[in-house]
């Protein structure tokens, strides 16, 4: 009986060793795969970093402005606030009358007005 038990134990031990070897081998392969994936991630992340930096360079305001001027013939638009929300007519209200402070933007800010235009107007208003 003892021999049978012993044999069984040896058999189980041998099987356990084989299973352990198998798992160990699987682990080694998985680790190698993981390392490769990690390297790929690092590479991809580096590439993403480079692309982000390249995008930041390409989208630089000075560069965009130069391109817009040389390739598209655009100029700086005057950054002027035409009105405030409080003065905008409600839906259904009558069109602004002549006395209204609101004017069509096209007649107030000519398309060719430079950025300094509001300043010049302000100077004229203050009588300098």
């Amino acid at each position: 009986m003892i021999r049978v038990v012993n044999f069984f134990c040896f058999a189980v031990t041998a099987l356990a060793c084989l299973a352990l070897y198998h798992v160990s081998e699987q682990t080694r392969v998985a680790r190698a795969t993981l390392t490769a994936v990690d390297r790929q991630i690092v590479g991809e992340r580096d590439a993403t970093n480079v692309l982000q930096a390249e995008w930041a360079r390409v989208a630089d305001s000075a560069r965009i402005e130069t391109l817009a001027q040389t390739r598209l013939g655009l100029n700086q638009a005057p950054a002027v606030q035409l009105s405030s929300f409080a003065l905008l007519p409600r839906r259904g209200d009558a069109t602004a009358s002549e006395e209204s402070p609101l004017r069509p933007a096209s007649v107030v800010v000519p398309a060719t007005t430079g950025v300094a235009a509001p300043v010049r107007l302000a100077v004229a208003r203050s009588g300098n």
């Binding site: 630089d60 405030s84 300043v119």
Partner: protein
């Protein structure tokens, strides 16, 4: 069976059983170790691989990239392996930009097996590709990083520089060195949109007035955040050969700023009730103090109301008002505003101010109108912000910190409100008219200081500046601009004084940046313009 001696077979069986038991115990222990104890550390190795970049990013307040480490390679080579050293040196020099003569020299002096030489540092992936196409033997690439600034020269002096080993050398790269090297990204208070607008307008004014240098600061007066800072020229420029383009003059240099300093003389007078704003101050041909005569750059009437002394920027009147406070009180007041100490910020290169050791009557008078004391533009802007923000102390910062950080009261809120009215009066009725902008009620003060050359003030070498605050009823932003030796144009009637050079510059800057700052115009601009037919 009990008491019988164990046989040899039985002993072997027991030993075998013990060995089996030990084997199972080892397997069990290993199983517990792998499945339970080391379960959470599986990613450690991969994390270590990922940690290849050694310096964190610098971003503007909107997340725009300002500085980043990018992967590059350092190139080493074993000269012994080269069949033709002369050709190799030429090819390597063309691909990497290295000096060909240096390469030939080191190849000749390190020609033994096992000798390695450094060919070039931080070569780009493109250069690496070109090198590989040459098929040279003995090349070794060592992974490294290079600091890249995608916005080029934008805010270059503020951001600073690093050495080839990635250590901060100047600016915020130096001030935030520890943080960045720990891998923590730094989100700065700078807004690249504001920075671009400020730098562009300041450079345009510098060229228009043929100034040696120019600069500007946009500061949030409630949080102390610096939204933009320009110091120009920021690259080698004709006529400005003696100016270091990498030097942030807004932080590192000190200037006698002249009449913008009258803000502090009047704030002190209002705070201490030594002067009423409607009080008549004698001006005439100047104010005599001992053997000195304090005069004005432009002809002034015989008398001026105190508020007009400020609006017309009279030195003679301001000197009299400053003297009412006295030397001790004036010095203590300027000290409380932080003007007598180097300004503290994340930039470690704050300049030390220059002020008189002996602070007597003459010094009190001259300091009142901004002569005899030199401070950095950032220190001045911070102190001016305290005057208008309700009178509470702020600390300038280059880090994004949108919360209100106003601290201890330096002057009373009432004094601050009065000063805001005075600053507005300068723009509507004084020397700062050209800074006015419809819809945004701007307050400000001009400053035209003669520069000292060889110990004497030179009339035609001016340092003009304008300190603008908007919206004036509840200020949020301060714009300070400075022009170094601007030239007026007689033909067009434009003088070199601040009212004609720095004031319109500040107005143009505000016109550009106010919409970006989402500041609503107080009154409809259309109505103020009167509406065109």
């Amino acid at each position: 069976m009990a008491g019988e001696p164990t046989t040899m077979v039985q002993r072997r069986i027991v030993i075998a059983a013990i060995l089996c038991g030990m084997a199972f115990a080892v397997l069990g222990a290993r199983l517990v170790d792998v499945t339970l104890l080391k379960a959470g550390t599986a990613g450690t190795a991969s994390a270590a691989i990922r940690a290849t970049l050694n310096r964190a990013d610098m971003l503007d307040r909107n997340g725009e990239l300002l500085a980043r480490d990018l992967p590059v390679q350092d190139l080493y080579l074993e000269p012994y392996a080269l069949p033709d050293k002369q050709t190799a040196a030429r090819e390597l020099a063309s691909a990497t930009g290295a000096n060909e003569d240096r390469l030939q020299h080191v190849f000749a002096s390190h020609d033994r097996p096992g000798d390695h030489v450094l060919v070039a540092r931080q070569i780009s992936p493109d250069a690496e590709d070109r090198l590989l196409q040459f098929g040279l033997p003995g090349l070794e690439f060592d992974p490294s990083t290079k600091r890249f600034y995608p916005k080029g020269r934008a805010a270059v002096q503020v951001v600073g520089q690093v050495d080839p080993d990635g250590h901060g050398l100047s600016g915020l790269e130096l001030g935030l060195d520890q943080t960045l090297r720990r891998g923590e990204p730094a989100q700065l208070s700078l807004d690249l949109r504001i920075q671009f607008a400020l730098a562009q307008e300041v450079e345009a004014a510098r060229q228009q007035f043929e100034a040696r240098g120019a600069g500007g600061i946009v500061l949030n007066v409630q949080t102390g955040e610096i939204l933009a800072m320009a110091s120009l020229p920021d690259e080698p420029s004709p006529g400005s050969d003696d100016i270091n383009p990498n030097r942030n003059r807004m932080v590192r240099d000190v200037y006698e700023l002249g009449s913008v300093f009258k803000i502090f003389a009047f704030a002190l007078a209002v705070e201490d009730h030594t002067t009423r704003l409607d009080e008549t101050i004698p001006i005439g041909r100047g104010f005599r103090l001992g053997r000195h005569l304090i005069g004005d750059a432009e002809k002034m009437p015989a008398t001026l109301a105190a508020r007009d002394v400020f609006a017309q920027s009279s030195n003679a009147g301001t000197a009299q008002i400053a003297l009412r406070s006295g030397p001790l009180r004036q010095r203590e007041f300027l000290s409380r505003l932080g003007l007598l100490d180097p300004v503290r910020s994340e930039d470690p290169e704050g300049a030390k101010p220059l002020y008189p050791h002996h602070w007597g009557q003459i010094e009190t008078a001259t300091v009142g109108f901004g002569h005899g004391i030199s401070v950095s533009p950032l220190a001045f802007a911070t102190a001016a912000a305290i005057i208008v923000n309700g009178g509470r102390r702020i600390t300038p910062t280059f880090m994004k910190h949108p919360q209100d950080t106003r601290g201890a009261q330096v002057i009373s809120p009432e004094t601050s409100a009065t000063m805001r009215q005075l600053l507005r009066y300068v723009v509507t009725d004084g020397t700062g008219k050209l800074a006015d902008l419809p819809g945004y009620e701007i307050g400000g003060k001009t400053g035209s200081a003669e520069k000292a050359v060889g110990g004497r003030y030179v009339a035609h070498k001016l340092l003009t500046s304008f300190c603008a605050v908007f919206p004036i009823d509840n200020p949020r932003y301060l714009v300070f601009v400075l022009l170094d030796e601007p030239h007026g144009a007689k033909a067009s009637g434009v003088m070199a004084l601040a009212g004609h050079t720095a004031a319109p510059l500040a107005g143009r800057v505000i016109a550009r940046i106010a919409p970006m700052l989402e500041l609503p115009a107080k009154a409809p601009i259309v109505a103020q313009m009167g509406g065109n037919p």
